[in-house]
């Protein structure tokens, strides 16, 4: 097995197009355990952390640009980012442990392809886009389109994510992510729920996005919950509709981590709670509360 650490995107793409059995990695917090367990055996391991663009956080007037291999610890410690995208920052901060946080990244969390990845529902509700590099240049894809199934990506073998573009949080908006784990940390989501809302000036919900993790082969949006919220306040009736829609959209499995019935029920609970937190944050951010 060969380890290479290219210093530019071009160098990395050319390596990938010439080494069919190459695998890229960022923090390797998933790759190393997979290697140890004998689940993969690439001939070439390509370390993306030495490429500058991939480890950076940049803000401009319209968006944040976060390098795909940026340690999540950098993200959660970035005060401006974490105040603007509280839910996404919290979701990124849930990956692994403090030690893992110095290695784990949004790009790695997404491209590992786990349905339970904590940062993914939070990226989806914030409409995050992935900038993907390949032999023919770059293309942009919604994060929601990157993973097609457990461990399955829509990326070609010679492509990798360079960075994420995150449009600035609009006024009167807030996001949230919650997960259910039996422990308090060092665990994998049995159910995850992300929400983002934008309020109208009268305080009613103008826009809502709800996405669930760990309850289907990929992260799923909950359009019926979103529809139930728009134009309403988060009262008992709309929240009950959110919970019902979330439970309904689930397509979970029975496994050692939880049952289908449990995941469906708790998906509803967490979706409802995430919406409430997102609304509260939107209100607080604009002095409505």
């Amino acid at each position: 097995m060969k380890y290479v650490a290219p210093s530019s995107v071009e160098e990395a793409t050319s390596l990938l197009s010439t080494s069919p059995s190459a695998q890229v990695f960022a923090g390797a917090t998933d790759v190393v355990p997979q290697l140890r367990a004998g689940r993969s055996a690439p001939e070439v391991l390509v370390d993306l952390k030495k490429i500058q663009e991939l480890v950076s956080i940049v803000k401009d007037d319209t968006k944040w640009t976060v390098g795909a291999a940026t340690p999540t610890a950098n993200l959660t410690e970035d005060q401006a980012f974490s105040e603007e995208f509280q839910g996404l920052s919290e979701a990124a901060g849930l990956i692994g442990s403090d030690q893992i946080q110095n290695r784990s990244s949004l790009g790695g969390n997404l491209c590992n392809g786990s349905p339970a990845a904590d940062s993914v529902p939070a990226m989806v509700v914030n409409g995050v886009r992935a900038v993907i590099a390949g032999p023919n240049g770059t293309r942009v894809l919604d994060v929601a389109e990157v993973v097609t199934g457990p461990g399955q990506l829509s990326l070609e073998d010679d492509e990798f994510i360079v960075e994420f573009e995150i449009d600035r949080m609009p006024e009167r908006s807030g996001d949230a992510y919650l997960r259910m784990i039996p422990r308090t940390e060092m665990d994998i989501a049995v159910v995850g729920a992300g929400a983002r809302v934008t309020l109208a000036e009268d305080g009613s919900i103008e826009e809502a996005i709800v996405a669930l993790g760990a309850v289907a082969p990929t992260v799923v949006r909950v359009p019926e919950a979103e529809a139930a919220l728009v134009g309403n306040t988060p009262n008992e009736q709309t929240l009950s509709a959110v919970a019902g829609a979330a439970s309904e959209v689930c397509n979970p499995i029975d496994d050692k981590r939880g049952t289908i019935a449990y995941r469906k029920q708790v998906a509803g609970v967490l979706a409802k709670r995430a919406v409430l937190i997102a609304v509260e944050r939107a209100q607080q951010r604009n002095g409505m509360k």
């Binding site: 422990r183 308090t184 940390e185 050692k256 049952t259 029920q265 708790v266 609970v269």
Partner: protein, 750 residues
């Protein structure tokens, strides 16, 4: 801390000095089982059964042997056939568990092992060993194993303890029975009777350090083993049995140990490493991966337990009926015997029947785990007692006080209790502010109690006085819970020199007299008593040397605070320093041995108070407050006593809420990692508050009882009773995981 007897003015016993092993552990210098490297050392890998139950048709090692770097491949046929040699049944089981001969009895059962120059070569060679199996039907639980027509693990197993003996073999290895009084009469006198049925899953000891062994065999038949264990004399004995050699041919050195909790009292890798080293002519290291630790070591039993109890209007228990079946895993020897003896031992009950079954099934052979057998039985009994207290409207501490065993009570398992401290632990809980702390929404409070015998057994110690008057205390008891500190504190007290002047060490099997395993909470009691005996021999010797120096009778010399004093004060005192420096002129080196078989066991009791908060929408339970009161007899080292008390509780909380072996229908373990086998992490737990109760054990020089085990007996019921209090649901199946709690809440609201 509740002190029930005045501290007799100890200077060192009962203090909290810096732990002696801390520096080496935090700087990474401590040598654990896997750390040893020897010149020319090979790496081994074990080949394990993928099937829960199968006949081994053939093992072809030719491909593996031909691989680059491979120096040895062994199978069951490389070991003596103990069954054919007419060995004792328990020895045959030890050997058959170490490496299978005709049948594999659980997924993970060893069938072969290889040694090669590198780890990668060893792993590749292990994969190249071709084993042909005839897969047999399997049984995974006591229910399956006890069912009519169940497939048999051992065709010749006739249930012991049944009269007349059954004609047909079964998976039930033995039956135990304890009876007193008249059950019908007892239940007839009851005002309320409650009966419930409980199940628990196998749980692992969860030590952080995987099993590891290095062996270096010589051509003369002798071998040296380095391993992480709770008792290197036991490792020597078991390894000698499996290898068919004299124990004297094996030297075993105890490595520093990263947790054992009972699970490192048995052998797995040691005889394999020796045989591989003999075949290869080089030292061999074997280290388990975490998934091997789960699949092939530990755990403790899964169980099914029914409890029926009755109480009078004033809360006196009139009768108790307990039926229990414990999984033994692949070979007989579940802790159902201890479970039967401990189940109702906290209480003075006039009429009872306790019946238990030791049942084999196709899972790894169970190993001891902290108060083996007692926690599951206590979960059932203490849950039912909680229901009874609720039904008659009695405080949960008061109902236990009304029935508590005291000095003179005829224990349910036979003997009369000497002075014990159960009542004092109950009172310590009642007197603590936690007992009346306010509870928030969705919070509940539970009480539970537990008993454990504690053990005595055999120990040896040697004490050397160094030339500067410092001392070395040598024992053969691996330190899994702070024993080096406790030994040094007792020696400091006896010799009258500072704790810092004493180094306590654990010596190999050729350097110190025999010691039984570090288990049964016995080391501070028994090995501690041997240390005290050796120190007292030394003090006698020192007095004699001072008398000789002063030319007086020995009874004119007293030993006070580390120095010899003349009773009439006519001679200037001689310090240990002075005497040590002049030892050459007074009889030579100052040193003493002591060996004993401790008979002065002091039973341990613990009462615990747990507050939980249950999220009614997700079923997640968080422990918000926890208090444990335990009778230590005497806390030689209060820091370590609290560590043991807290450790038992933490493992019990894990057992209560999340830990379980999950097997698929083929009998393959699905969660052999710490990700999916969920022991608690630090953030899952509140501070575990401790109330050390000290009711001294009259049979020990300092009153020690032993503290390592009883702390894990009450927690499951304490948590379950708190959940019952919070959400009105009685959980009867462990673990009380979010999925199960939400199911129970859904049923309740239907």
């Amino acid at each position: 801390m509740a002190i029930t007897e005045e501290n007799p003015g100890y200077k060192w016993v009962g203090t909290r000095p810096i732990r002696p092993d801390g520096l080496e552990k935090v700087t990474g210098k401590a040598q654990f089982g896997a750390d040893l490297m020897l010149p020319g050392m090979l790496f081994g890998k074990v080949v394990r059964s993928p099937h829960a139950h199968a006949r081994i048709v053939s093992i072809d090692t030719t491909a593996a042997e031909a691989m680059v770097g491979v120096k040895a491949v062994i199978t069951g046929s490389d070991f003596p056939d103990l069954a054919a040699n007419g060995a004792h049944a328990s020895d045959i089981d030890v050997a058959s568990n170490a490496i299978a001969r005709e049948k594999v009895l659980y997924e993970g059962h060893v069938v072969a092992a290889v040694a090669a120059t590198t780890r990668d070569q060893a792993e590749a060679a292990a994969k190249a060993v071709e084993v042909t199996y005839e897969v047999l039907p399997h049984v995974l639980t006591v229910d399956e194993a006890m069912a009519d027509g169940a497939p048999l693990l051992h065709e010749g197993m006739i249930t012991k303890g049944v009269d007349p003996a059954p004609e047909n073999p079964s998976n039930v290895a033995s039956k135990i029975l304890h009876e007193r009084g008249d059950l019908d009469q007892g239940f007839g006198e009851a005002h309320v009777v409650v009966e419930r049925e409980f199940t628990t899953k196998p749980v692992h000891q969860g030590y952080i350090e995987p099993h590891a062994a290095v062996a270096d065999a010589n051509t003369d038949g002798r071998a040296h083993i380095w391993c992480s264990s709770q008792g290197h004399f036991q490792m020597r004995a078991y390894s000698a049995t499996v290898l068919g050699v004299s124990p004297g041919n094996l030297k075993v050195t105890a490595a520093e140990i990263g947790g054992g909790f009972g699970g490192k009292t048995v052998i797995y890798l040691e005889p394999l490493a020796v045989r591989l080293s003999q075949r290869a002519g080089r030292p061999v290291k074997l280290v388990m991966d975490r998934d091997e630790v789960f699949r092939a070591t530990g755990p403790t039993s899964g169980t099914r337990i029914r409890v029926k109890m009755g109480v009078s209007e004033d809360g006196k228990i009139t009768a108790a009926e307990v039926w229990m079946a414990y999984e033994a895993g692949a070979f007989s020897g579940s802790p159902v015997g201890a479970a039967g003896m401990t189940a109702i031992a906290c209480y003075d009950i006039p009429n009872f029947v306790v019946e238990g079954y030791d049942v084999v099934c196709n899972k790894p052979r169970v190993a001891a785990y902290r108060a083996p057998g007692a926690p599951m039985a206590a979960f059932a009994v203490e849950s039912v007692l909680d229901e009874l207290a609720r039904d008659i409207g009695m405080d949960p501490i008061d109902i236990r006080l009304a029935n508590a065993a005291v000095e003179g009570t005829q224990a349910s398992y036979g003997p009369k209790f000497p002075r014990i401290g159960f009542v004092e632990t109950l009172e310590a809980i009642k007197d603590h502010p936690n007992y009346t702390a306010d509870l928030g929404p969705n919070q509940g409070r539970g009480v539970s109690a537990g008993f454990w015998f504690n053990a005595g057994m055999m120990s040896s110690a040697t004490v050397h006085i160094n030339e500067n008057g410092s001392a070395t205390v040598v024992t053969g008891s691996p330190d899994i819970g702070g024993s080096r500190q406790s030994m040094a504190l007792m020696a400091a007290e006896e010799l009258g020199i500072p704790y810092e002047s004493i180094k306590a060490v654990v010596a190999d099997t050729e350097t110190v007299g025999f010691n039984d395993v570090t288990g049964g909470s016995r080391v501070t009691l028994a090995t501690g008593a041997a240390v005290v005996d050796a120190c007292r021999i030394i003090v006698e010797d020192l007095r004699a040397r001072a008398a000789k120096t002063w030319d007086v009778e020995v009874d004119q010399v007293e030993w006070v605070e580390g120095q010899a004093q003349h009773v009439e004060g006519t001679q200037p005192p001689l310090s240990l320093n002075d005497l040590a420096a002049k030892s050459g002129r007074t009889g030579g080196p100052i040193s003493a041995n002591a060996s004993l078989n401790s008979r002065g066991v002091g039973a341990g009791f613990s009462t615990q108070l747990c507050d939980v908060e249950v999220d009614p929408e997700t079923g997640v339970t968080r422990v918000v407050r926890y208090l444990t009161a335990q009778d230590a007899g005497r806390a030689i080292s209060p820091d370590y006593v609290e560590g043991q008390m807290q450790g038992g509780v933490v493992q019990g909380i894990g057992w209560a809420l999340n830990e379980e072996y999950i097997h698929n229908p083929d009998g393959v373990m699905e969660n052999p990692s710490f990700l999916d086998y969920r022991i608690p992490v630090a953030s899952d737990l509140p501070m575990i508050d401790c109330a050390i109760v000290e009711v001294p054990n009259p049979a020990h020089p300092y009153g020690v009882r032993g503290v390592g085990e009883v702390g894990i007996v009450p927690p499951m019921a304490a948590v379950g009773n708190a959940i019952r209090d919070a959400i009105d649901v009685r959980m009867t199946d462990l673990p009380m995981s979010p999925v199960r709690i939400l199911e129970a809440l859904n049923e309740q609201s239907d």
